[in-house]
Amino acid sequence: MILDPIHWAALGVMGPLLAGLVAMEGRPRAIRLGLLAGIGSSVAATAGLWVAVSLDGPLRHPLGGWGIPLGIELYADGLSVLMLAMTALVGTAVSLYSTAYFGDISQRSVRDSPAGRGARFFAPLWLFLWGSLNGIYLSGDIFNLYVLLEIMGLSAAAMVTLAVTSQATVAGMRYLVISLVGSMFFLLGVALLYIVGGSLSMERLATLDLAGPLPAIALGLMTLGMAAKTALFPIHGWLPPAHAAAPAPGSAILSALVVKGSFYIIVRLWVHVFGGGAREGLLVLGILGGIAVIWGSIMALRQLSLKRLIAYSTVAQLGYLFIMFPLLFPAGGGWSPDAWSGGLYHALSHAVAKAAMFLAAGSMTYAVARDDIRAISGVAHRLPMTFFAFGLGGLSLAGIPPSGGFVAKWLLLRSAVEQGGWGWAVLITVGGLLTLAYVLMVLRYAVDQTEEPEAFREVPRRMEWAAMSLALIALLLGVRAAEPLSLLEAGGIVPWR
């Protein structure tokens, strides 16, 4: 059948949301159905858009006729498709994992017990989240972004509190507050931009001359809000407890995907709408990112809770994403494609690897019933596959070849060296070593056979396989990097102006 490719986009957004509604019903069958629908729609949408975009560049579709100049529209280019693909990839694995993770909830009694609530509400929340993420990647105007951000924030915060512990609740609440405040900042920025530019379409805004204080303030506010949601360095404190407290699949989603949503918006704003903005602004972002790399890694090194460690590593890895900004627009003017591909490829490979790690960590804690590094001794022998999944994910994170992380790091390094940005180059290298340090700390406990864990629960194969497959993909990303990156280039001219 011949479809206007943009319908794929609509499918990508609406599919998961509707599937979420189905899953709300709560019985295992409904949940499975919903997840299947969500997976199907997202994968289909991604595939369709991938083909379409790589064939004939970016796509636009005015929703309900509100086109340019108002521009309430769907927009898809290489970047969007890459993020969609990332979401679909990780999402599928996590969905499969979750079906095994929450155990059997066929009896109503179990479903309604506090423990069962997690099992019951995970799927719908996740599907809403999925829909909103796809929406964010596909929306072409900033107000839609706000709405979708709110959906994302609410369902994400709720997902944290699925774990029925006081810590989880507090962490979730804090997360909610932060993300609501962040959205408010964003909305204020939107308002100011509209007043200045009279349009909401990012493409339209990009064509305007956004000089003067007001746009600058708007950009600053939006960036601040999104930085808070992305847990950029000084505002990162909410992330570790939240991501650590959520049930494992939730942690994977939060760390791998949700933070990328707000990061994506920052990229759109700085690169596309503002075409680099001011060099100093880029530097600020980069420096904060740099600090995040070091700080997050050191914090991770000092954790004893496995999931908290991984969460802190997320803080550090997000720092890498921000290092991209100053590299994108070299001091001498111009544009560094290496930094562009490198940064976004890092986003992609981080998503895959981090999800693999969290899922693996989930399996470990699931097996030993404790979220403590010291408790996982011997896991390497009981759960070799999980162990390898965690290891491979970690190595990809640290940029050990062959892995997506390595390719990303290579590109970032190259752009840094080309611009003579030795500080950045050293930072990237050192960050990699620190990453290794905490990954190895975990592995070292896992191989330790001196003390046997007292209680050891069998882990469903599906969980192990889900984590392993993600890890292998992270590995594969290091060997076939050409295709995804070519997609990035296919997505029209970068930046727009």
Binding site: L70, F102, G103, P114, A115, A119, F122, F143, Y146, V147, E150, G153, L154, A157, A158, T161, L162, A163, V164, T165, S166, Q167, A168, T169, V170, A171, G172, M173, L176, V177, L180, V181, M184, L187, L188, V190, A191, L192, Y194, I195, L200, A244, A245, P247, A248, R302, L304, S305, L306, K307, R308, G362, T365, Y366, A369, R370, D371, D372, R374, A375
Partner: protein
């Protein structure tokens, strides 16, 4: 002083006040309230947006935005209050306690959805 400037100033003031509340007030209810006040400030600014097409008719877009915004805000507030209540129920106090032990998360956190 143009109405836009006036409204904008007022809006920003509200925004700041709300933020102040969110940050300084420990009680969750105040925080939620603060967020709503911030939203209110933004809506004020939007409504003051100058007519874009012709000076007689107001610009429908900001109004649409405000309406949507209010809907979203209501939903968010609901969720937030609900969660605040649960916090109160779980910890016994409607605050975001900071003294979550850091290096010993292992003891009281099974780390997965079962208990």
């Amino acid at each position: 002083m143009t109405p836009l400037a006036l409204y904008t100033a007022a809006g920003v003031g509200l925004f700041a006040a709300g933020l102040w509340g969110v940050v300084t007030r420990a009680h969750l209810f105040w925080k939620v309230l603060g967020i709503n006040i911030m939203g209110g400030g933004i809506f004020l600014i939007l409504l003051a947006a100058p007519p874009r097409l012709d000076p007689l008719h107001a610009d429908p877009v900001p109004q649409a935005m405000v309406l949507t915004g209010i809907v979203v805000a209501v939903a968010a507030t609901a969720v937030a209050l609900g969660m605040a209540l649960r916090v109160a129920a779980r910890t016994g106090r409607p605050f975001l306690d900071e003294d979550v032990p850091n290096r010993s998360a292992g003891e009281d956190d099974p780390g997965s959805g079962r208990e």
